[in-house]
Symmetry: C2
Subunit: 406 residues, 2 copies
């Protein structure tokens, strides 16, 4: 008998009808002779609605109380889904994150899973129950509920799959899998059959919303094979697994897996005199308050450091504040370009095949799209461009690299 | 330093503005030099909304899952209220029922509190925190969340007041206290300053919605004085306490405290031949499925038993089913009058002063209101009348017994 972890996102649970479809999929899996754990997110827009409630009260809520509030969303999903499955005649039990033995550290709103105590889940599976687990939430050392950050339900699913050594981990959403680029913007985008953890990490980090990055990191660490697929179709989705397992299937020396983009970017540029340690300071201050610096370039001329870097748009204010603190003792000018975007090509072996970068730059150039900044890693090339050029860039690159369906 | 338990109902927490007023009241209490525990219900119509969600899925949900679902309502209240108080600069922490150490038996949806382990609450009070506790919910022996039945937040407040030996237990709602009858229907209704536990129990059991009956039973058992008052005014409300404490204030040999009514009543009448044990069977069958039989009369002539009794309107279908089972082997006719109501006069010493009953019957008679059934206890006289006569009966009795304001 196999153990399967299935995870369903909020859009698959937005109303009673959708919940029934999810219940049917779970029951079919159970009746095919599997033990089933289903991890669920909050239904529809519930999490956003809860955040709005808190916003009406204060712009700076206690993070402990925020987690207490947000955890209710997934509790609504688990109880309603368990009722649905129960009404269809199957044995089922719901569990909150704490009840499911998911233990985390004390960082409210972005807790990290410390360990999983699977005793209670195993007891219920042994009693032939389908077990519905609330994603996104965990118990900390002092008995409080904590949440795992946006997309945390993916993490719950992968962590459970790792801890319980499940035979498969299926992440269901309203898309068919991972695409060469976002099919809402590029109609020709193609579904990818197999993608490695590292490539998927780059896709996620570059703005593709299919899977949360931390869940992929954990999947990689514990070698959990993820099947990303649609709640509403029977088609095979995308398998995210190790490079070795994929190798047989990709005969070329390198291959482009996909193109991702992220429009929520802003670029800061600082010009500062006589401050050789300024980059170190920027990094240390920003990391302390949770700002992630994505690309950074530096040039020095005549003792003037010119530093540019990119952060997420939601961090503009915090970044501005930190820069003001850091540079208060210097002669400095700070500017911020709020309308930039990042476009990335992802594929194993991309760096060692300079032709890819060349072709990307050439394509952008031909399309009259200016390149603001560039970064190249083993498996990704990213360009910062103007936000208004994103769609054009996506289409041209997608076409030029032969990723389209035909 | 005194310890005060304050309880706020859902209508006092229906939006951010109302929540701020509640927060202010709590903070004032704290700043007057008290330790404060605030027990809260789910905001506004949240509980009803959650029940509707479940209704869309199945008419017969798992009761364990129902409790998992309903418990989220109070979690929303505690977190939002704690944020509100925190934003006003006070130290505050929220706790679910399980976190607050409220332990109950395993009867889902109507659990009874077994004991309270006040360790965690005491720790937080010692740290000078205002403690916000989710009403209505508890932890059972196998680690599930259970709920305490409708109005269960009152019970949470009184039980905490008893367990922590608080100096006062204030139950806030949108009315000013307990009235001689429902002021929405009788404009002249007068607020009662003091009422005994027993009288209050009769008021509650007779349809007055101010306080849940079980909470009054617990208050009586542990001698917790309850102050029922309004969230939105500074006026003194009604003190519910022991008869002895009130005695000095009531000089008459007896006094009427109030008039209550309940329109959600139905009357069953059964006529059955040769069935001397039929009443016993009705009671045992109904109690097994949780139907409460309120009044019962029986007459026998020519071996024919005629039995009438009253149940809550929501139990019509269940009662019908049980009666069908019980009487399947007899020659029987069953009828049900769906439009009856109960009007009750409540006052200590009422039974020993026959004049009260006489005056009540006379008043109804003068007003052309037929009396269907009667029951008299030590402190209550109840009449079953036609539903359409309720308002008239209320007004006339209220006037006749001199309960009006002037």
């Amino acid at each position: 008998m196999s153990l399967v972890v299935m995870k369903f996102g909020g859009s698959s649970l937005a109303n009673a009808d959708k919940m029934k479809r999810v219940a049917e999929r779970i029951i079919i899996k159970k009746k095919s002779g599997n033990k089933v754990i289903a991890v669920v997110s909050a239904p529809g827009d519930t999490t956003d609605d809860l955040i709005k409630m808190a916003d009406k009260i204060t712009c700076n809520p206690s993070i402990r109380e925020m987690d207490m509030l947000l955890a209710t969303g997934e509790m609504i999903s688990i109880s309603l889904l368990a009722m649905t499955i129960g009404a269809m005649g199957e044995k089922v039990i719901s569990m909150t994150g704490p009840q499911a033995g998911i233990l985390a550290n004390d960082d409210y709103t972005r807790a990290r899973i410390r360990e999983i105590n699977p005793q209670k889940i195993n007891d219920q599976l042994a009693k032939d129950n389908i077990v519905i687990v609330a994603g996104f939430q965990a118990l900390n050392s002092i008995g409080d509920v904590t949440t795992l950050g946006r997309g945390g339900s993916d993490l719950t699913a992968v962590a459970l799959a790792a801890a319980l050594k499940s035979d498969s981990c299926e992440i269901y959403s309203d898309v068919e899998g991972v695409y060469t680029t976002d099919p809402r913007f590029v109609k020709d985008a193609k579904k990818i059959d197999y993608i490695s953890y590292d490539e998927m990490l780059e896709m996620a980090g570059s703005g593709s919303q299919v899977l949360q990055s931390r869940s992929i990191e954990v999947a990689k660490k514990f070698n959990v094979e993820i099947h990303s697929r649609s709640t509403f179709s029977e088609n095979e989705g995308t398998i995210i697994t190790s490079e070795e397992k994929i190798k047989g299937k990709k005969m070329e020396s390198f291959s482009i897996s996909g193109i991702s983009f992220d429009k929520n970017q802003v670029k800061f540029t600082i010009s500062v005199l006589d401050a050789p340690d300024i980059v170190a300071k920027i990094f240390s201050h920003c990391s302390k308050v949770g700002i992630i610096i994505d690309m950074l370039s530096q040039s020095v001329s005549n003792k003037t450091n010119i530093i540019s870097f990119v952060v997420n748009r939601s961090d503009i204010k915090k970044t501005q504040e930190e820069l003001d603190k850091i540079t208060s003792d210097y002669r400095v000018s700070i500017s911020c370009d709020k309308h930039v975007a990042k476009v990335s090509i992802i594929g194993v072996g991309i760096k060692s095949h300079g032709i890819v970068a060349a072709k990307m730059f050439e394509t952008l150039h031909k399309s009259n799209i200016g390149i603001n900044m560039v970064s190249i890693s083993e498996i990704k090339i990213s360009c910062i461009i103007n936000e208004s050029d994103v769609l054009k860039a996506l289409e041209e690159i997608h076409k030029e690299f032969g990723l389209s369906k035909k």
